[in-house]
Subunit: 499 residues, 2 copies
Amino acid sequence: MPEVLKVRCRRCCAAGVLLAAMMSPVLLRAQSADFGQQVSGYVAAHKPAIVAELTELLAIPNVAADKPNIRRNAEHLRALLTRHGLQAEILETTGNPLVFARTPPRAGLPTVLFYCHYDGQPVDAKKWRQADPWEPVTRGEGDDTRIYARSASDDKAPIVALLAANDAIAAAGLAPTVNVKLILDGEEEASSPSLVPAIARYKDRLAADLMVILDGPGHPSGRPTIAYGARGLVTLDLTVYGPKSGVHSGNYGNWIPNPAMRLASLLASMKDDSGRVTVAGYYDGVPPLSAAERAILDAVPDEGARMLATFGVAAPEAAFPRLQEALQYPTLNVRGLASSFVGANARTIIPDRATAALDLRLVKETSAADLIARLRAHIEAQGYHLVDSDPDDATRARYGKLARLAVGDQILEAFRTPVGDPRARAVVASLTRTFGQAPVQLRTLGGTVPIAPFIDALGFPAILMPTVNFDNNQHEENENLRLSTFFDSIVTIAAVLRQ
Amino acid sequence: MPEVLKVRCRRCCAAGVLLAAMMSPVLLRAQSADFGQQVSGYVAAHKPAIVAELTELLAIPNVAADKPNIRRNAEHLRALLTRHGLQAEILETTGNPLVFARTPPRAGLPTVLFYCHYDGQPVDAKKWRQADPWEPVTRGEGDDTRIYARSASDDKAPIVALLAANDAIAAAGLAPTVNVKLILDGEEEASSPSLVPAIARYKDRLAADLMVILDGPGHPSGRPTIAYGARGLVTLDLTVYGPKSGVHSGNYGNWIPNPAMRLASLLASMKDDSGRVTVAGYYDGVPPLSAAERAILDAVPDEGARMLATFGVAAPEAAFPRLQEALQYPTLNVRGLASSFVGANARTIIPDRATAALDLRLVKETSAADLIARLRAHIEAQGYHLVDSDPDDATRARYGKLARLAVGDQILEAFRTPVGDPRARAVVASLTRTFGQAPVQLRTLGGTVPIAPFIDALGFPAILMPTVNFDNNQHEENENLRLSTFFDSIVTIAAVLRQ
């Protein structure tokens, strides 16, 4: 590992950032922009083969619950990794298989464990602009050419990018300066229940000095991005009960209370118009940002206007006008609403119940247990009696307002590696050398990788390196991968391999 | 027609009601309880045949959009009516066919036109406790034996009851004291678009002195019930727009505004916790109830506690604790909510939109146009820009809060016949004689029959006579008909035929 130097970066100092980087002046010369150009050249010469490898992988359906196709993905990946010269194997778990691979170990080098996942979110195929989300379609022109398919961005692209990066280094007559390990999760979108239990069985294989998690959308600027942490996640279903079954809205309207309206009022009581959560104590324990933390956030290029234009939104939440600051706080998000029917099947009734599907994003300082307790207290403070299952007649007769707050199976806490961690600094330094400027550094990624307990159990630091286009429609219909961003990501990953 | 007498009813005077009734002392003796017992006796002796006739009719699917089965219903009804000695025919319209029938006309008698509908609400078959909502199932014991099937109560039972009443009168060696006409609507649940246009073509057939609309649930006391009017109905879909497509709730949570939360706040702004609408001017034009009107409402037996227990609701809306009073005001009801998914398909996104399906019940003094205008003004006052279709990029960039209020195809205004109408009094008098006490009289039925323009166009007064059990799950899964209530309704209808 090169010695630690503190250098003042010419570009970033304008934004007030002191870049703490690990780098040697020799490597700086030997591997600056030249290395990046070598990798870019390799990528330019091998685009069709790299893209073909990706589309072949995308053609295998990969919802975590679809066991036969998950197995097909794992077998396909093992063969693919082997073909690229890695020592690859399938690691069986109590759930979906992991795929593990490593470069032949070389003594004296630090080890980087890369993490990706090969499963994807469920699809609502009717909403896609193509017949099948697992039949990849290429659309667009020039730099904006994109591949549309489930998991194009989340999270199969980084797997193929890593292999291309490794090939590019070999093609340049070089070798990685780290021992490379790769673990591919097959149930990340199902919250990775088998990942931590698998550590006991495979601890030796997984041992490393740093984990680099290749997942999530990169910064809209297109610059290499690293994140020191990610928010956690807990999902909840909040149901407000009305009459035992729907009743005619004419015969009983104005008289039988409406659970959909009550749910609306209850949700409205949880946030003010600015988007700030009004549940008592919700932000407790989250300290105000220090000047240094604020500087890290401020150094992130502000792509707010561009993102808003892309999403078709005129203005962000008034409470959190800057995205980077918004991500430092827990959320209370309504991810779905349902009560009776809307549209052609709508009936003129007072529904029997109304449900809001919520997700709460957690930060390091707010545990799931605390936020759930505060939410329960808030609901009770609005006059509701909370039940654990559909209420019986006696309960219905006793309580005027009945609700249920059901917590989802998986609770994922947040994690955050200190910004000053030396292994992370080495990555930042290499990226700075390769690209001629510091990467975008994010204190907290807004999304969740179900990785906090995995990191805790492994016992070495972890950073996130999100590489795909920010507007990839991740988790939604028409998920896509912008190819020019994908090709750039190969250079980024190569820089991690040649620290 | 017998002369008009004003009599003070012994039972009702306790409740402060002066019964204005048309009756002759001779008829009063000749046809009091004896007549009721004759009809009851006939019904008791013919239950299996009457029920078989009903179940046969219920076995024909009858959603208005299902044209082949609607035709089967019409043909079946024409044959049934003919078999019972009526002159029956199918009247073609621009939509579903009407079925018309009449008793052979006799000179010098007033004519009563009965209205029922033979179509039913769409079904969500999965939610029913039986394989098929159109394969009637009988469950329960003794007085609470019920037939479960779509349209068992709404509105096929009254058709069969009318025929049985006519048969019972003949079996007693009597004849109706009115000329009977019957019109059966085949698209009431689709808001009867063809009914008014059909009048021009069939005006002679439809001419009568009074229309009696056999539809809706009777009073929970089981007493004969008449209503002088019904609330109107307008349906709306209120959509709040979020990002162009759903975005990841982690990557953008706290920053991209959430349309489901905004919809919740918007709905919450429309009503206070007591259930009173807070939209400015919503109740304008509805005068306070006069003492006489309040007396009519107070005379209705209060079955509130029983209804609440049946529906599993501890307390009604605080603003309208008495059902009869609640029905005198317009409603703002959330009949459905939808945004992305809830349950197994829920995804961790900020949804692209959230929609509330609303229905507004109108009273005579509040037109649909007025209430819609007030609702629009309210939404705009909350900072929303209202669009008429999904917003384009320029609109999205310009307005921070975007919503759409789409008004349903059919607007149905309320109607109300004055309580003192002489034809209505004749019916009240006959029911009072037959049952030994006055019927329950409702100033306004809470539900809607799409009949106001039909009544206006016909030019003679109309009353509603709802006859089925109040807890029939009308419009919902497991719609049912309580057979003992059904048998009682045959006596009620017979009393209208023998005024």
